[in-house]
Protein backbone atom coordinates (compact mmCIF):
# COMPACT_ATOMS: atom_id res chain seq x y z
CA UNK A 1 0.00 0.00 0.00
CA UNK A 2 2.67 2.48 1.00
CA UNK A 3 4.81 1.32 -1.92
CA UNK A 4 2.10 1.98 -4.44
CA UNK A 5 1.39 5.47 -3.09
CA UNK A 6 5.10 6.27 -3.13
CA UNK A 7 5.60 5.17 -6.71
CA UNK A 8 2.48 7.06 -7.69
CA UNK A 9 3.76 10.22 -6.02
CA UNK A 10 7.02 9.95 -7.93
CA UNK A 11 5.31 10.13 -11.27
CA UNK A 12 2.71 12.69 -10.22
CA UNK A 13 3.31 16.11 -11.66
CA UNK A 14 1.06 18.87 -10.52
CA UNK A 15 -0.26 20.95 -13.35
CA UNK A 16 0.61 24.56 -12.67
CA UNK A 17 -0.87 27.50 -14.53
CA UNK A 18 1.81 29.20 -16.63
CA UNK A 19 1.33 32.49 -14.76
CA UNK A 20 1.52 30.94 -11.26
CA UNK A 21 4.26 33.39 -10.28
CA UNK A 22 1.92 36.39 -10.56
CA UNK A 23 -0.21 35.13 -7.66
CA UNK A 24 1.88 36.47 -4.79
CA UNK A 25 4.44 39.22 -4.23
CA UNK A 26 6.99 36.69 -2.99
CA UNK A 27 6.56 34.68 -6.21
CA UNK A 28 7.00 37.84 -8.27
CA UNK A 29 10.18 38.71 -6.39
CA UNK A 30 11.40 35.16 -7.02
CA UNK A 31 10.83 35.37 -10.77
CA UNK A 32 12.37 38.88 -10.84
CA UNK A 33 15.48 37.51 -9.12
CA UNK A 34 15.66 34.67 -11.63
CA UNK A 35 15.27 37.09 -14.54
CA UNK A 36 18.23 39.20 -13.33
CA UNK A 37 20.33 36.56 -15.09
CA UNK A 38 19.30 38.31 -18.33
CA UNK A 39 20.93 41.52 -17.08
CA UNK A 40 24.08 39.55 -16.21
CA UNK A 41 24.20 38.02 -19.70
CA UNK A 42 23.45 41.37 -21.37
CA UNK A 43 26.38 43.07 -19.72
CA UNK A 44 28.75 40.12 -20.25
CA UNK A 45 28.04 40.53 -23.99
CA UNK A 46 28.64 44.30 -23.78
CA UNK A 47 32.05 43.57 -22.17
CA UNK A 48 32.82 41.16 -25.02
CA UNK A 49 31.91 43.92 -27.53
CA UNK A 50 34.27 46.27 -25.69
CA UNK A 51 37.12 43.77 -25.93
CA UNK A 52 36.42 43.19 -29.65
CA UNK A 53 36.37 46.95 -30.27
CA UNK A 54 39.62 47.50 -28.34
CA UNK A 55 41.41 44.76 -30.26
CA UNK A 56 40.20 46.13 -33.63
CA UNK A 57 41.42 49.70 -33.19
CA UNK A 58 40.45 53.29 -32.60
CA UNK A 59 37.66 53.39 -35.18
CA UNK A 60 35.90 50.28 -33.81
CA UNK A 61 36.27 51.72 -30.31
CA UNK A 62 34.59 54.98 -31.37
CA UNK A 63 31.73 53.00 -32.90
CA UNK A 64 31.37 51.02 -29.67
CA UNK A 65 31.18 54.24 -27.62
CA UNK A 66 28.54 55.58 -30.04
CA UNK A 67 26.59 52.34 -29.56
CA UNK A 68 26.68 52.75 -25.77
CA UNK A 69 25.35 56.30 -26.22
CA UNK A 70 22.41 55.27 -28.42
CA UNK A 71 19.03 55.72 -26.67
CA UNK A 72 18.07 52.05 -26.97
CA UNK A 73 21.27 50.78 -25.39
CA UNK A 74 21.12 53.48 -22.68
CA UNK A 75 17.57 52.40 -21.81
CA UNK A 76 18.62 48.73 -21.76
CA UNK A 77 21.60 49.62 -19.57
CA UNK A 78 19.40 51.41 -17.04
CA UNK A 79 17.04 48.43 -16.85
CA UNK A 80 20.03 46.06 -16.64
CA UNK A 81 21.54 48.10 -13.79
CA UNK A 82 18.36 47.65 -11.74
CA UNK A 83 18.60 43.93 -12.46
CA UNK A 84 22.29 43.74 -11.54
CA UNK A 85 21.81 45.55 -8.24
CA UNK A 86 18.86 43.29 -7.40
CA UNK A 87 21.06 40.31 -8.26
CA UNK A 88 23.95 41.52 -6.07
CA UNK A 89 21.73 42.28 -3.07
CA UNK A 90 19.80 38.99 -3.23
CA UNK A 91 23.03 37.06 -3.83
CA UNK A 92 24.88 38.56 -0.86
CA UNK A 93 21.88 38.23 1.45
CA UNK A 94 21.60 34.53 0.62
CA UNK A 95 25.35 33.90 0.92
CA UNK A 96 25.20 32.58 4.55
CA UNK A 97 22.66 29.97 3.42
CA UNK A 98 25.07 28.69 0.76
CA UNK A 99 28.26 28.71 2.81
CA UNK A 100 28.66 27.79 6.46
CA UNK A 101 31.98 29.07 7.79
CA UNK A 102 33.33 27.82 11.09
CA UNK A 103 36.07 29.31 13.22
CA UNK A 104 37.14 26.54 15.56
CA UNK A 105 33.85 24.95 16.53
CA UNK A 106 31.78 28.09 16.38
CA UNK A 107 29.78 29.01 13.35
CA UNK A 108 30.42 32.49 11.97
CA UNK A 109 27.15 34.48 12.39
CA UNK A 110 25.14 35.03 9.20
CA UNK A 111 25.24 38.80 9.55
CA UNK A 112 29.07 38.78 9.48
CA UNK A 113 29.13 36.77 6.25
CA UNK A 114 26.63 39.17 4.66
CA UNK A 115 28.65 42.20 5.81
CA UNK A 116 31.88 40.65 4.47
CA UNK A 117 30.20 40.24 1.08
CA UNK A 118 29.05 43.88 1.01
CA UNK A 119 32.52 45.02 2.11
CA UNK A 120 34.08 42.99 -0.72
CA UNK A 121 31.57 44.53 -3.16
CA UNK A 122 32.51 48.03 -2.01
CA UNK A 123 36.29 47.43 -2.19
CA UNK A 124 36.12 45.84 -5.65
CA UNK A 125 33.87 48.63 -6.95
CA UNK A 126 36.20 51.34 -5.63
CA UNK A 127 39.31 49.65 -7.11
CA UNK A 128 37.72 49.17 -10.56
CA UNK A 129 36.25 52.69 -10.44
CA UNK A 130 39.65 54.11 -9.56
CA UNK A 131 41.28 52.38 -12.56
CA UNK A 132 38.58 53.64 -14.93
CA UNK A 133 38.64 57.22 -13.63
CA UNK A 134 42.44 57.70 -13.49
CA UNK A 135 42.79 58.44 -17.16
Amino acid sequence: MTDSTQSASKTYKKKMPILWWTKRTSYLLFITRELTSLAVAYFAIILLFLIRALSQGQEAYNEFIALLKSPTVMLLSMIALCGLIFHSVTWFNLAPKAMVIKVGKRRVPDVLIVLANYAGWLVISVVIGWFLLSI
Binding site: V40, I65, L81, L132
Partner: protein, 115 residues
Protein backbone atom coordinates in the same frame (compact mmCIF):
# COMPACT_ATOMS: atom_id res chain seq x y z
CA UNK B 1 32.47 6.78 -11.42
CA UNK B 2 29.37 8.23 -13.04
CA UNK B 3 29.62 11.83 -14.05
CA UNK B 4 26.85 13.97 -12.59
CA UNK B 5 26.21 17.04 -14.68
CA UNK B 6 23.99 18.95 -12.23
CA UNK B 7 26.65 19.72 -9.52
CA UNK B 8 29.06 20.75 -12.29
CA UNK B 9 26.62 23.27 -13.80
CA UNK B 10 25.64 24.43 -10.32
CA UNK B 11 29.26 25.18 -9.36
CA UNK B 12 29.67 27.30 -12.52
CA UNK B 13 26.35 29.01 -11.68
CA UNK B 14 27.59 29.74 -8.16
CA UNK B 15 30.97 31.06 -9.22
CA UNK B 16 29.35 33.20 -11.91
CA UNK B 17 26.74 34.51 -9.50
CA UNK B 18 29.41 35.64 -7.07
CA UNK B 19 31.78 37.21 -9.60
CA UNK B 20 28.97 38.99 -11.48
CA UNK B 21 27.48 40.33 -8.23
CA UNK B 22 30.88 41.73 -7.20
CA UNK B 23 32.26 43.28 -10.41
CA UNK B 24 29.48 43.90 -12.94
CA UNK B 25 27.49 46.72 -11.24
CA UNK B 26 30.44 49.14 -11.09
CA UNK B 27 31.37 48.38 -14.71
CA UNK B 28 27.78 48.92 -15.87
CA UNK B 29 27.48 52.16 -13.89
CA UNK B 30 30.62 53.41 -15.66
CA UNK B 31 30.12 52.18 -19.24
CA UNK B 32 26.32 52.04 -19.36
CA UNK B 33 25.29 55.11 -17.35
CA UNK B 34 27.99 57.59 -16.29
CA UNK B 35 29.86 57.65 -19.61
CA UNK B 36 26.85 57.85 -21.98
CA UNK B 37 25.31 60.61 -19.83
CA UNK B 38 28.61 62.50 -19.92
CA UNK B 39 29.18 62.48 -16.13
CA UNK B 40 32.69 61.11 -16.71
CA UNK B 41 35.16 61.45 -19.57
CA UNK B 42 35.30 58.75 -22.22
CA UNK B 43 38.52 56.80 -21.50
CA UNK B 44 41.01 57.12 -24.35
CA UNK B 45 41.48 54.15 -26.62
CA UNK B 46 45.17 53.92 -25.72
CA UNK B 47 44.49 53.93 -21.98
CA UNK B 48 41.86 51.17 -22.06
CA UNK B 49 43.93 49.13 -24.51
CA UNK B 50 46.98 49.12 -22.26
CA UNK B 51 44.73 48.44 -19.24
CA UNK B 52 43.37 45.26 -20.84
CA UNK B 53 46.62 44.10 -22.46
CA UNK B 54 48.40 42.31 -19.54
CA UNK B 55 47.77 38.55 -19.60
CA UNK B 56 46.48 38.63 -16.03
CA UNK B 57 43.78 41.20 -16.87
CA UNK B 58 42.75 39.23 -19.96
CA UNK B 59 42.41 36.05 -17.89
CA UNK B 60 40.30 37.90 -15.31
CA UNK B 61 38.07 39.30 -18.07
CA UNK B 62 37.66 35.81 -19.53
CA UNK B 63 36.64 34.50 -16.11
CA UNK B 64 34.17 37.37 -15.58
CA UNK B 65 32.51 37.01 -18.99
CA UNK B 66 32.49 33.22 -19.12
CA UNK B 67 31.28 32.57 -15.56
CA UNK B 68 28.62 35.29 -15.91
CA UNK B 69 27.32 33.51 -19.00
CA UNK B 70 27.24 30.12 -17.26
CA UNK B 71 25.43 31.80 -14.36
CA UNK B 72 22.84 33.08 -16.83
CA UNK B 73 22.61 29.72 -18.62
CA UNK B 74 21.81 27.75 -15.47
CA UNK B 75 19.45 30.27 -13.93
CA UNK B 76 17.59 31.09 -17.13
CA UNK B 77 17.20 27.39 -17.88
CA UNK B 78 15.35 26.91 -14.60
CA UNK B 79 13.38 30.14 -15.06
CA UNK B 80 11.97 28.65 -18.24
CA UNK B 81 11.57 25.22 -16.67
CA UNK B 82 9.93 26.16 -13.35
CA UNK B 83 8.65 29.65 -14.05
CA UNK B 84 7.19 29.17 -17.49
CA UNK B 85 6.45 25.45 -17.11
CA UNK B 86 8.30 24.38 -20.23
CA UNK B 87 8.87 20.80 -19.04
CA UNK B 88 8.52 19.10 -22.38
CA UNK B 89 11.41 20.85 -24.10
CA UNK B 90 13.71 20.63 -21.05
CA UNK B 91 16.60 19.04 -22.95
CA UNK B 92 16.35 21.50 -25.83
CA UNK B 93 16.41 24.45 -23.39
CA UNK B 94 19.45 23.02 -21.58
CA UNK B 95 21.34 22.53 -24.83
CA UNK B 96 20.56 26.07 -26.06
CA UNK B 97 21.45 27.71 -22.70
CA UNK B 98 24.67 25.87 -21.85
CA UNK B 99 25.57 25.60 -25.55
CA UNK B 100 25.46 29.36 -26.12
CA UNK B 101 27.51 29.91 -22.94
CA UNK B 102 30.16 27.49 -24.25
CA UNK B 103 30.20 29.02 -27.74
CA UNK B 104 30.50 32.63 -26.49
CA UNK B 105 33.18 31.57 -23.99
CA UNK B 106 35.26 30.06 -26.81
CA UNK B 107 34.76 33.22 -28.89
CA UNK B 108 35.76 35.42 -25.92
CA UNK B 109 38.89 33.33 -25.27
CA UNK B 110 39.77 33.59 -28.97
CA UNK B 111 39.24 37.38 -28.96
CA UNK B 112 41.36 37.84 -25.83
CA UNK B 113 44.09 35.55 -27.14
CA UNK B 114 44.40 37.66 -30.31
CA UNK B 115 44.06 40.93 -28.42
Amino acid sequence: MKFHAEPFWWSLFGAGGAISALVLPVLLVFFGIAMPFGWVDVPSYEYLHQLVEPLMVRLILLAIISLSLFHWAHRFRFTLYDGFQLHRINLLIAIICYGSAVVITVYTAYSLWNF
